[in-house]
Amino acid sequence: MIGDSTLPDVTLGDDEPPMARVLLVISIVGAIALLILHGVLFPGSEIPALGDFISLFGGLANSGIWIFLVGIMIGFGMMVATVMGGALED
């Protein structure tokens, strides 16, 4: 029923998604795109580990787990920083 519509004349709203969520989606899409690209360019080869492209970690991090562990370390670092920041702010 055309006359029953409760939409306003302009169907564009003002709300925007939070920037954090936009970045999260872009990161996930980007990661999937890079994985697919890697599969196309280097078929059959393993995903490079942290030590393969950061020479500083060449002898240390030669397993894919280190990509994940770096994220965990950053998370624990943020915890310490947040506690210290909160304590000093108070």
Binding site: P18, I65, F68, L69, I72, M79, T82
Partner: protein, 534 residues
């Protein structure tokens, strides 16, 4: 004899029921005063270290619990990864850290179990005070013993990495400290119950007190009478399971604003939780007769009743006001947790019954443990934290969005990790069975890449749980420091007192809010050229 031990278990529950309802004749006041004295004054300077604000005990347990949950999740993730790549962290040998796969998995499992138990105990402390209508008997003691329990987890974590005499010493110290802590927490709960202003003792309170006291009483009975190992194995999970059911039976009615749907089902949950034996975590360490195995199987099956009753009660309660139940992250987490608890309990029933007979499906045991610990207990503890932590601190958690997102991350990560790891173990078992059945198959020549792929997927799925735990910890820290005080509409961050506006430039309310304006902000319109124009 197993039957005598089970009757001892029932008698211990009757003892608790009588003592909680009627107290200890003649010595009631003496015991109460002595417990009060031992919980604060007798600790001397130790008790003076902590302020003992209202709710601080609960907050401290939940904070420590989430930290250990993060550590446990991290090591569980590493353990899952090392299942397909045992040398993944071999580079850490340069700092003398060279654990085996089983060491990392054991350390991760124990840390996570301790962390989730701490979350449930922290929520339980808040729940008991709330339902009793009285303050916790001693918040100071609760804070102090939370540090002690954390220390016991640390000692246990270290002992998992050590072999030989020192490992045994640390393990013994950890077990002793944690037992003493449980005694202290139980005394705190009982004293709080003794000061209650609400006459009726609620189901959650029974489950909390019973879950902590039954294993302690049976431990004492073991010293005096000698309890069958098969029964002791089942009691190990009782504090966590009973606490989780207590949290579930409190959080959903609280969040939904509707009382529990059925008194009978709540009663059945309490009674059958303590009168049956759970198959969860049972490894069958000792051999028993076929008659005892048959009796155990019946008790294992009966242990489904309290879980199904609690799940039915929780879901029906949520159904009474589904709008609020589904919009609350806490009740959503608890409902997902109850659903997964039912699934893992049924799985454990088969695995637990099998361990006493043919042992054909024992390869599913570790996957079932993952589902129970993270999917069931973890999710219910998550709901407990989201619901109880703000009430205990008096401040809202920093972000509701994080509550909801981490709920889905933990549930999704735990379920996928369970499915992939179960798939890997089933494929592995099928290969082993084929190799045994057919001698011509060389086990070394079988392509095992499917198992590796499934194990990789399991570990990556579980990474979501690790990230969720870290995000939730950050949410709790930020909430306790700068969360919105409950009962007020104050913004989380201090708003600007005065702001200046320039005429001629359009400004939206959104821009003002983004600039830090609050409801009490005064707006000054400053016009430099107005006087000149006039």
């Amino acid at each position: 004899m197993l039957l005598v031990d089970i009757i001892t278990l029932w008698l211990s529950f009757l003892l608790i029921w009588a003592l909680v309802n009627r107290g200890v004749p003649i010595f009631q006041e003496l015991i109460r005063d002595m417990s009060d004295f031992f919980m604060e004054k007798a600790l001397g300077p130790g008790a003076d270290l902590f302020e003992g604000r209202e709710g601080s005990g609960s907050v401290s347990w939940m904070m420590h619990g989430m930290l250990w949950t993060c550590i446990g999740a991290t090591f569980t993730f590493i353990g899952l990864w090392m299942a397909h790549e045992p040398d993944a962290i071999a580079s850490l040998s340069s700092i003398y850290y060279e654990p085996t796969v089983s060491t990392v998995q054991t350390a991760g499992s124990n840390a996570a179990t301790g962390g989730i138990l701490m979350l449930l105990i922290g929520a339980g402390l808040h729940i008991n005070t709330r339902l009793s209508g009285a303050n916790l008997a001693s918040d100071t003691n609760a804070v102090l013993v939370s540090y002690a329990f954390s220390m016991s987890l640390l000692l246990g974590f270290l002992s998992d990495h050590m072999s030989g005499t020192w490992g045994d010493y640390l393990c013994t110290a950890a077990a002793t400290i944690s037992t003493l802590v449980m005694v202290a927490i139980l005394a705190n709960h009982l004293l709080t119950l003794g000061r209650r202003t609400n006459h009726t003792i609620m189901p959650s309170q029974w489950l909390i007190v019973g879950g902590l006291s039954m294993p302690l009483i049976m431990c004492a009975a073991n010293f005096v009478l000698g309890i069958d190992e098969a029964l002791s194995e089942s009691l190990a999970v009782l504090p966590m399971l009973a606490s989780a059911l207590a949290v579930a039976l409190y959080v959903v009615p609280y969040e939904v604003g509707v009382p529990l749907w059925s008194r009978t089902m709540a009663g059945a949950t309490i009674l059958m939780t303590f009168m049956t034996l759970s198959p969860i975590g049972v490894e069958g360490v000792t051999a028993i007769s076929i008659d005892d195995a048959a009796m155990l199987t019946i008790f294992y099956a009966a242990s489904m009743i309290p879980i199904l009753a609690a799940a039915g009660n929780v879901f029906q309660t949520a159904r009474s006001n589904w709008g609020r139940a589904s919009s609350s992250a806490a009740s959503t987490a608890v409902m997902i947790g109850m659903f997964m608890l039912v699934g893992s309990a049924i799985g454990h029933l088969f695995v637990g019954a099998d361990v006493r007979s043919t042992g054909e499906i024992q390869h599913l045991s570790s996957s079932m443990d993952t589902l129970f610990l993270w999917g069931g207990m973890g999710m219910i503890a998550w709901g407990g934290v989201i619901s109880c932590f703000p009430q205990a601190t008096g401040r809202a958690l920093h972000s509701d969005e994080t509550n909801r997102m981490t709920t889905w991350m933990v549930s999704g990560g735990a379920v996928l990790a369970f499915l992939f790891s179960m798939g890997a173990s089933m494929v592995s078992s099928a290969y082993d069975a084929a190799a045994v059945a057919n001698d011509s198959i060389d086990a070394d020549l079988i392509d095992m890449s499917a198992i590796d792929t499934l194990e990789i997927l399991a570990s990556i799925a579980f990474y979501a749980v690790v990230m969720a735990a870290i995000m939730m910890m950050l949410n709790m820290i930020r909430g306790s420091f700068s969360g919105t005080p409950l009962g007020t509409d104050e913004p989380a961050s201090p708003s600007a007192n005065r702001m200046a506006l320039t005429p001629g430039i359009s400004t939206t309310i959104r821009q003002l809010l983004a600039a830090g304006a609050g409801p009490n902000t005064e707006l000054d319109v400053i016009c430099d050229r107005c006087d000149e124009e006039e």
